[in-house]
């Protein structure tokens, strides 16, 4: 069976008027999968999600059903489900539009997933800086309570489920699951040493599943249409449909939902290609923490295995695209400044390494680098990589080392020439949607 180039599943209702309202979601068959699930054996749901091949969409790609099966059901403590909507990885912009357009898809996924892992309390942790997403989620949860889909004895069964929408307060690191749990406990968001893993000792030291929003939102369709159907999309080891986020110097940046394994050549074509008169220089496959790729890798299959074989990581499928006007020194510095700002400070290699690398990169950007700075940065990266509790530092190391690998001469040019002389920054400025939109949007939904 041949599968279409784009496979709108999560995004299928985004062009519907007022898709976020419960009546409109239900009218399209919403909550039927949850109703079906609460009549199933929880282990059968876990089996179904395992069979579907669904893997974590937050970056790591761990099989979702397998994660659920790690919850020790004999543990007497309560079980918790926590949804990670702390979308903050530079380039990543998929969960925000999904939650704004169709928050009930997530809520339905939360019901099914909580039932499967026998949780009676679920938390939706959303970054605080997305007010309207939080409004829509608060309303979706409130409306689901009113409809009897949440609360005591949902869908007329004896199963109880409470869901809390929890706003964060500005910290990239809280997208890391153990930092998120500390934050949700009312502490500074700093990663925990593992083991124990959250499945054994997570929220309040109880068994906890932490899943990305897109992963959980994928569950209702799997329950409704089956694991075999889900696997007709994607590749053998990377099943299903997913949101690819294309940004940067393309004509039509945006969300493109396609089967896993779609190439960037295909996505770039759909996005209208690079802006007129320019060429692709480099891109990230999955956010700023994944090694950059170049035009030679346009035909890499964007699935977990394909991108790994090309020396990078699928990550969050965030395709940040840069044309030939862009200075790689500038992008590398700006990303490293991001990590320096967001390093929680707990582990010395990350805290000090990001600080030092920013200073070195600033010198290089200004044309004040010193002979040997590139080697020094690579040595620093070697000392920082894989030496912290979490992977934040590995993220900036991946970006710096891959940028040097492909564009070393630009960094060495920084020993004598400022980056803005080699790549005048004003030439990179681009407003792709300038003609389409003005400041004031169309009014209220009703």
């Amino acid at each position: 069976m041949s599968v279409d180039v784009l496979t709108p599943t999560l995004s299928d209702n985004w062009d519907q008027p007022d898709a976020w309202k419960i009546a409109n979601y239900v009218a399209r068959g919403g909550y039927e999968a949850a109703r079906k699930a609460v009549g199933m054996d929880p282990d059968a749901i876990i089996g179904l999600v395992k069979d579907s091949g669904l893997r974590g969409r937050g970056g790591a790609g761990f099989p979702t059903g397998v994660k659920w099966s790690f919850i020790p059901q004999a543990n007497p403590n309560p079980k918790y489900l926590v949804i990670n909507c702390d979308e903050s990885e530079p380039g990543t912009c998929k969960d925000v539009p999904m939650l704004m357009a169709t928050p009930h898809t997530l809520v339905e996924g939360v019901i099914i997933s909580s039932f499967a892992v026998r949780a009676h309390h679920a938390f939706i942790y959303v970054r605080g800086e997305v007010l309207h997403v939080i409004r829509r989620l608060q309303k979706a949860v409130a409306d689901a309570y009113e409809a009897g889909y949440l609360g005591k004895g949902i869908f007329g069964t004896d199963y109880d489920l409470d869901v809390v929408v929890h706003a964060g307060a500005g910290a990239y690191i809280c997208g890391e699951e153990t930092a998120l749990l500390d934050s949700l406990e009312g502490r500074r968001g700093q990663p925990r040493l593992r083991p124990p893993f959250p499945a054994v000792a997570g929220l309040y030291a109880s068994p906890t599943v932490v899943n990305n929003a897109e992963s959980i939102a994928s569950v209702p369709a799997i329950v409704a249409k089956g694991a075999a159907w889900y696997k007709t999309m994607g590749t053998e080891k990377s099943a299903g449909s997913t949101l690819y986020s294309v940004s940067g110097h393309v004509k039509r940046p945006g969300q493109y939902e396609a089967p896993l394994g779609t190439t960037y050549r295909t996505l770039l074509d759909l996005a209208g290609g690079i802006r007129a008169g320019h060429q692709l220089k480099f891109f990230t496959p999955g956010g700023s923490s994944t090694p950059i790729l170049t035009p030679d890798q346009l035909d890499v299959k964007l699935d977990y295995e394909g991108v790994a074989a090309a020396g990078s990581i699928l990550g969050t499928k965030a395709l940040q695209t840069f044309d030939e006007t862009v200075s790689v020194v500038r992008t590398t510095l700006r990303w490293t400044e991001f990590y320096k700002h967001e390093s929680c400070g707990k582990c010395t290699p990350c805290r000090e390494g990001s600080w030092w690398l920013v200073q070195t990169l600033r010198n290089i950007e200004q044309g004040k680098g010193q002979e040997g700075d590139v080697e020094k940065m690579l040595d620093l990266c070697d000392n920082v990589s894989m030496k912290s509790f979490c992977t934040l530092a590995d993220g900036f190391v991946a970006n710096i080392t891959s940028s040097i690998k492909y564009f070393r001469e630009e960094f060495e040019a920084g020993y004598h020439t400022p980056a803005w002389e080699l790549f005048p920054y004003e030439k990179s400025v681009y407003f792709p949607y300038e003609r389409e939109r003005i400041t004031v949007s169309e009014g209220a939904g009703e």
């Binding site: 970054r127 406990e185 991001f338 400025v429």
Partner: protein, 249 residues
């Protein structure tokens, strides 16, 4: 004066008046804090939303707010301050009525965010991290706000101002300054930073139904799929499984 006055080593220490013990927190806010605590199996989980509530009432993280959170949760003020200083959304200095953010992480920066930030500094007459003397605007350089397909992005009171240009940014400030109604490109009409903070504390403002389902970039792929007739595979219907006509897809 000894001539050896203490100078703080941290820039952030400037502008925070540690003698300012004013607060608007009263019985009603304390009752709302208790409501937040009741949402969670363990009350300390309420600390982040409680601090959002403090900001909505006091316009900043006030010392009195810290003290009250600590008392209600049975933890020390040092523990509360440790949290309040960790997260960037908590402001020790009063934010403006409208808190303006400009994203300058890489994609936005390159596409025009750096230009917009410089322009906003000049337009508002303040540097990042500052508030205008009339209390109308505060300005912040943002890290990635998860809207890269709408780059360059600005935020007002944590509402999206997508696909900004220098002209649109100036018009935005002018309209807010004049008190005209301004709508987020993907959200509700702009209220105020303090009102937004109250929503983040978990008290809805009833504006969820304003704004579109999705912005244009969010629909880029879906529109092509509709034009081409592309869909996800149709699951086999019972009839097809029973030997009915195979699906044409």
């Amino acid at each position: 004066m000894s001539g050896h006055e203490f100078v703080a080593a941290f820039d952030d220490a400037s502008g925070i008046d540690s003698h300012d013990d004013q607060t608007n927190i009263g019985e009603q806010t304390i009752a709302e804090m208790r409501q937040i605590m009741a949402r969670y199996p363990e009350p300390r989980s309420a600390l982040l939303p409680m601090l959002h509530l403090v900001q909505s009432v006091d316009g900043r993280i006030s010392d009195a707010g810290v003290q009250i959170c600590a008392e209600l949760l049975g933890i020390s003020t040092a523990q509360v301050n440790g949290v309040a200083t960790f997260y960037t959304m908590y402001k020790r200095r009063p934010a403006g009525k409208h808190h303006v953010g400009v994203c300058t992480t890489t994609v936005c920066a390159v596409m025009g965010g750096d230009v917009l930030l410089d322009q906003m500094k000049e337009k508002l007459g303040i540097d990042e991290g500052e508030t205008t003397p009339d209390g109308m605007f505060s300005l912040e350089r943002l890290e990635c706000n998860a809207a890269c397909d709408f780059a360059p992005v600005m935020m007002v009171n944590w509402e999206f101002m997508d696909s900004m240009t220098p002209e649109k940014a100036n018009a935005l400030i002018d309209n807010l300054q004049a008190g005209r109604e301004v709508h987020s490109t993907r959200g509700a009409h702009i209220t105020s930073w303090a009102e937004a903070e109250r929503v983040l504390a978990g008290f809805p403002d009833g504006l969820a139904d304003e704004g579109p389902t999705a912005g244009p970039a969010s629909l880029a792929g879906l529109q092509i799929a509709r034009e081409k007739g592309w869909t996800a595979p149709v699951p086999p219907s019972p009839a097809a499984v029973d030997g009915g006509k195979p699906n044409e897809r």
